[in-house]
């Protein structure tokens, strides 16, 4: 068993529970040493809207979003802090294109999505250009790696600069880049939709995506990202 991130042989000691659970072990993920680099977000002391560590119920950014989208009761979940370690992982996975890292977070993702069984999982699409360049969509990769079924309801109509190359201001003034693919328009009605992205920074992308979906009267829309 090799850790798929650091490449070193991992010696995970089996617990009694694992031995007697009689299910297949997940061997694709990261070793415990690598996992310890990433910091989980704690759900108690965080903003209701965007899951940022915050003392108040809604953080300042989310209060602005509430003004912008008064009829959207948004809620975002995230697993990890977007810190140095996560940035490095993202760099390896997204920008170097190390697709085999897709299963690094398989276990925590599985755990989270187990609580969202009845939801339609919708990954955020990337532009065609970057899809060809990288050879994959990073969000779909993460979901594939964790073995989670998803639906490609959204498509991107504007191909633009990657988000990472913009300033915060430029990102916030971006125009709506998404639309719901025509064949799925009827499916959305009265369904619960869970939008999934890799990183939540300003929230612009996810709010655009939610906006395009809410036109077709879903029951509720929430969002999820690996890092925040």
């Amino acid at each position: 068993m090799k850790c798929n991130y650091c490449g070193q042989a991992q010696q995970n000691k089996l617990s009694l529970k694992q031995i007697f659970s009689f299910t297949a072990l997940v061997t694709e993920g990261m070793c415990q040493k690598c996992q310890a680099q990433f910091h989980l977000l704690c759900p108690e002391k965080s903003c209701q809207g965007c899951h940022r560590p915050s003392e108040t119920q809604y953080c300042l950014d989310c209060q602005k979003w509430q003004q912008l989208y008064p009829d959207y009761d948004f809620h975002h979940d995230a697993l990890y802090q977007y810190d140095q370690a996560m940035q490095e992982w993202m760099k390896a996975y997204k920008f170097q294109g190390a697709y085999h890292l897709k299963s690094s977070f398989a276990l925590p993702l599985k755990k989270y999505f187990a609580t969202k069984r009845s939801w339609f999982v919708v990954p955020i699409p990337v532009s065609q250009q970057r899809r060809i360049q990288r050879g994959f969509n990073q969000v779909e990769g993460l979901l594939d790696g964790a073995g989670i079924a998803y639906h490609l309801f959204l498509e991107r109509i504007v191909d633009d600069l990657p988000q990472a190359q913009r300033t915060r201001q430029q990102r916030l003034t971006l125009k709506q880049p998404f639309q719901v693919s025509p064949k799925f328009k009827e499916k959305i009605k009265n369904c619960s939709i869970l939008l999934v992205d890799d990183v939540y920074t300003t929230g612009r992308t996810l709010f655009h995506a939610a906006d395009s979906i809410r036109k077709y009267q879903p029951k509720q829309v929430q969002s999820f990202s690996l890092a925040r």
Partner: protein, 439 residues
Amino acid sequence: MEYLWGRKVLKEECKGSFSVATQVFPAFQQLNHLKGKCFRCSTIIDKQRTMLPTGTYYCSNCIQLGRVTSDAYFYHLPEPPLQARAVLFNWQGNLTAGQQKVSAQLRQAVAKKAPHLIWAVTGAGKTEMLFATLHEKLQKGARIALASPRVDVCLELYPRIQAVFPKETIALLHGQQTAEYRYTKLVICTVHQLWRFYQAFDLLIVDEVDSFPFVNNRPLYYGVQQALKTSGSLVYLTATPTKELQVQIKKKLLGVSVLPARYHRRLLPVPNLMWCSHWQQVSHTHSLKKVLALIQRLIKQNKVLLFCPSIKLIKLLYEQLSTAFPQQSVEMVYGDDNARLEKVKAMRQEQVDLLITTTILERGVTFERVSVIVYGANHQVFSAAALVQIAGRVDRRWHYTEGEVWFLHSGRTQALNEAVQQIKHMNYLAKAEGLIDEV
């Protein structure tokens, strides 16, 4: 065109247009329907594991140098034929008798194109022994690479070589290098960069062959083999050859020159051992007192390098020592440290009195006036080779500064004994060959 001579690069890595004569290699050799072999680093890849949704797959081993996908191609142009030329050689130093012998042996071996190992003790002046051969080969128009597994070694080699060949342009290649690649006759690079060369060098010198990550790393070894022309000669340099290399020497597959003494004709400093129980717990009062007293004594004469087995211990020790020595500047440096290069530079300029570090500084660096302490020398990260290298940081300059080597341990390991024995053996050989001035 020059850009591609002796190179092996992906389309994204090269700028400009290609001529028709460019040689093109597919990025992967298909071994069977499950496995493919990367042409850059020779790793055999499980296709299923790295299969992209587009159906192509890539090599996960050399991905830091840019992803090689199975539908990509490598571009290459053969080296032009050698042309003799004049090369300005600016070195006034003299070689000692021992160095001269090795230097002559090296020239012979390179002329015969036989692979050769220079086994010279730490601080013997290995680089100086290369100069004659380098100059001779450069004048013949040969292309030469000096490669090392460690960036620090490359960074230290570069100015020294540049000073000796002031009119030569030298390419310095490593992972953090931002300057663009240019064709040069002389290349100093990390061994990883050799993956980007193909049949390029007439002489390839690998410094510190026994160090991480080169040891037992087949892909890197392959990189060395294929960067060398079939008519080229390979030279290894080290102070502590591995068992495998020693076996090769015994089988006469590898020529060897041994230099057991340093150029300043003094014996290698033999490590002093000191019992230091419970070094794992830094605050263990009795042991800490011993360490502090030792540092107190050493720091009066020299700067002190303190080697630690783990980063956790470094941080703990740093806290203790920076409070215990408020007048001295205490620093710590380890592998993941962002300011690593700056801190080492400060140490070189003698701005730091006490540097706490891991094995990253075990080799390839020379500091003026240091004493060395190995804290927890019986930890498993300190192999015999590492300990010999660490002990070799002391007394490398011409002027004697009474630098000392101390191994603090809580039980002798085999590596510890081996290291001390090896140093003593080299001293014995040096005395026997008359390479030492008796004081």
